[in-house]
């Protein structure tokens, strides 16, 4: 369903310790927001894109498809900064172009950080990490189960969609909306049915209400953390003084 998830599981840095990847991504994100866009944003964009594509060897095609997805939103944002609405029409806002430029640069840097994290670290690893920092186990379990169900339901939806298309359920906008309503209506009971059957499957394996599994994940190394810290400091330094 999600090419991002696939890359996250198959990339070269999949087994790198969670803390290191998270520290790098979130650290860079905060720097992108906190520092002046020039040159920090450019630097961050370059470093994070390099880390994703060269370091983790994520497929450039998948990366590009994800990187261009938020362009629509960015366009809306940028256009609103550049233009000024007055009673007698629309004109360029003073300093608008400059402001829009910084915003675009900062957003681009942020997106590369997000993509680095999403494409190198499976969501389930992040959730497991969240449990370790004290998010209640019950909530994490719901999230992990949801992660599991997502893929099952997405397959069911695409099959339903194909079945409807085959019977011309997409022939017009009105029919399409109706078909979509039918998908939604049929999917919820099926999802709940799945939940009921999975409960049987889990009970058969001795489930007592707590969902403990053994996950052996690589531990954080001092060296890895220092490396990430060094990259963050260097970026901060260059961003402030260059």
């Amino acid at each position: 369903m999600s090419p991002i998830d696939r890359e996250a599981h198959l990339n070269r840095w999949r087994q790198k310790p969670l803390v290191e990847k998270l520290l790098l991504a979130l650290g860079m994100m905060l720097l992108a927001l906190a520092l002046k866009p020039w040159p920090a944003a450019a630097l961050i964009t370059a470093v994070m894109t390099g880390a994703t594509l060269i370091g983790a060897r994520v497929s450039p095609r998948v990366w590009l498809a994800c990187a261009t997805a938020p362009l629509g939103f960015l366009t809306v944002g940028v256009v609103s900064l550049v233009l000024r609405i007055e009673l007698n029409g629309v004109s360029l806002a003073p300093g608008g172009i400059e402001a829009a430029g910084s915003l675009a640069a900062r957003s681009a840097a942020g997106v590369t950080c997000l993509l680095f994290l999403a494409l190198t670290t499976p969501t389930c690893d992040l959730l497991a990490g969240a449990r370790r920092v004290g998010v209640p186990a019950e909530i994490i379990e719901v999230a992990l189960l949801m992660y599991r169900f997502l893929f099952i339901l997405a397959d069911e939806v695409s099959a339903m969609d194909a079945a409807q298309a085959a019977r011309l359920g997409h022939a017009s906008k009105g029919r399409r909306l109706r078909s979509l309503g039918l998908v939604a209506a049929n999917l919820l009971p099926r999802a709940l049915d799945r939940a009921r059957r999975m409960e049987i499957g889990l009970a058969a394996r001795g489930w007592r209400g707590e969902m403990r599994v053994l996950s052996d994940r690589p531990g954080t190394t001092l060296r890895g953390v220092s490396e990430v810290a060094a990259v963050l400091c260097a970026t901060a330094f260059l961003g402030i003084f260059a």
């Binding site: 090419p3 099959a159 079945a163 409807q164 298309a165 085959a166 011309l168 359920g169 049929n186 009971p189």
Partner: protein, 279 residues
């Protein structure tokens, strides 16, 4: 006979990278029953989704009546009214509250009047022998009944070609036999059938032609009697010949088969050929 529907060097990769079709060629002849066999993941379902335009190949083309098909809105609509699709899991295609209502989904989308639609629904339910279930809610049907309702939904659009993904999977022996009977009647009435299966014995008994899949390609297509009696090509698709073929071949090697050179197509034939006949 010229092909009614034809796939030419199709390639297709699912988002994420798996190459599901890798230069596949297949041709569907008018009025025949074509069985598609191959291991899990060979690309059988993916091909069916190409044959009605649900998926669009990365390269290669589909030809219908000798003309390359288009993927515009109108082209797809025209294509799908002629090619029906029945997916493996009937639950994926039953949406409406009752069987009759569900079967009416396609005809109404064709823009038929209520009267014509009602007529089509009646016919389709009769063809699958589920007229008595017309008002039953779809989620209260048994497995076999759901399968029938799903097929009725497809044939109510009177397609020329019906694509079926593993039509007998999960059905008990009798249910499968009845369903095959109904499909046979549809075929005799002129509908071209294309179906996938894991069951070589079923293909041997039912299909006029057989195509063997392996890793996104058709490695052999031809008359069932030729394709399924060729152990070396079957082995490439990780299949064994049908049991009747295996027995028949050993017997033939030993000179025990009487009559024409062919292999027995069903049990009675096998027995006749070894000179026994049914009691």
């Amino acid at each position: 006979m010229s092909a009614l529907l034809e796939a030419r060097s199709l390639t297709y990769a699912y988002p994420g990278g798996v190459l599901a079709l890798a230069g596949l060629d297949l041709s569907v002849s008018r009025g025949r029953k074509l069985g598609i066999l191959g291991p899990n993941g060979a690309g059988k379902t993916t091909l069916l989704l190409h044959l009605n335009g649900t998926l669009r190949p990365a390269s290669g083309e589909i030809r219908f009546d000798g003309r390359t098909v288009g993927y515009g809105r109108e082209a797809l609509i025209a294509w799908r009214r002629r090619v029906g699709l029945v997916l493996q899991d009937a639950d994926d295609q039953l949406f409406a509250a009752s069987v009759a209502e569900d079967v009416s989904f396609g005809p109404l989308n064709l823009g038929l009047t209520d009267e014509e639609t009602r007529q089509r629904v009646r016919e389709a339910l009769a063809a699958l022998e589920i007229a008595d279930l017309a008002d039953r809610p779809t989620h209260m049907l048994s497995f076999g009944q759901k399968k029938r309702a799903a097929i009725a939904g497809a044939i109510a659009m009177r397609p020329e070609i019906l694509l079926l993904d593993e039509p007998t999977a999960g059905l008990d022996r009798q249910g499968a036999a009845l369903l095959l009977n109904e499909l046979k009647r549809l075929s005799e009435a002129g509908t071209t059938l294309v179906f996938t299966t894991h069951n070589v014995d079923l293909a041997w008994a039912f299909a006029d032609e057989t195509a063997l899949f392996s890793e996104g390609r058709v490695i052999a297509q031809g008359e069932t009697s030729d394709v399924l009696s060729n152990p070396s090509v079957l082995a490439q698709a990780q299949l064994q010949p049908p049991l009747l073929v295996r027995l028949g071949m050993v017997l033939r090697d030993k000179g025990l088969l009487q009559g024409e050179a062919g292999l027995p197509r069903d049990e009675a034939q096998l027995l006749a050929m070894v000179g026994i006949g049914r009691r």
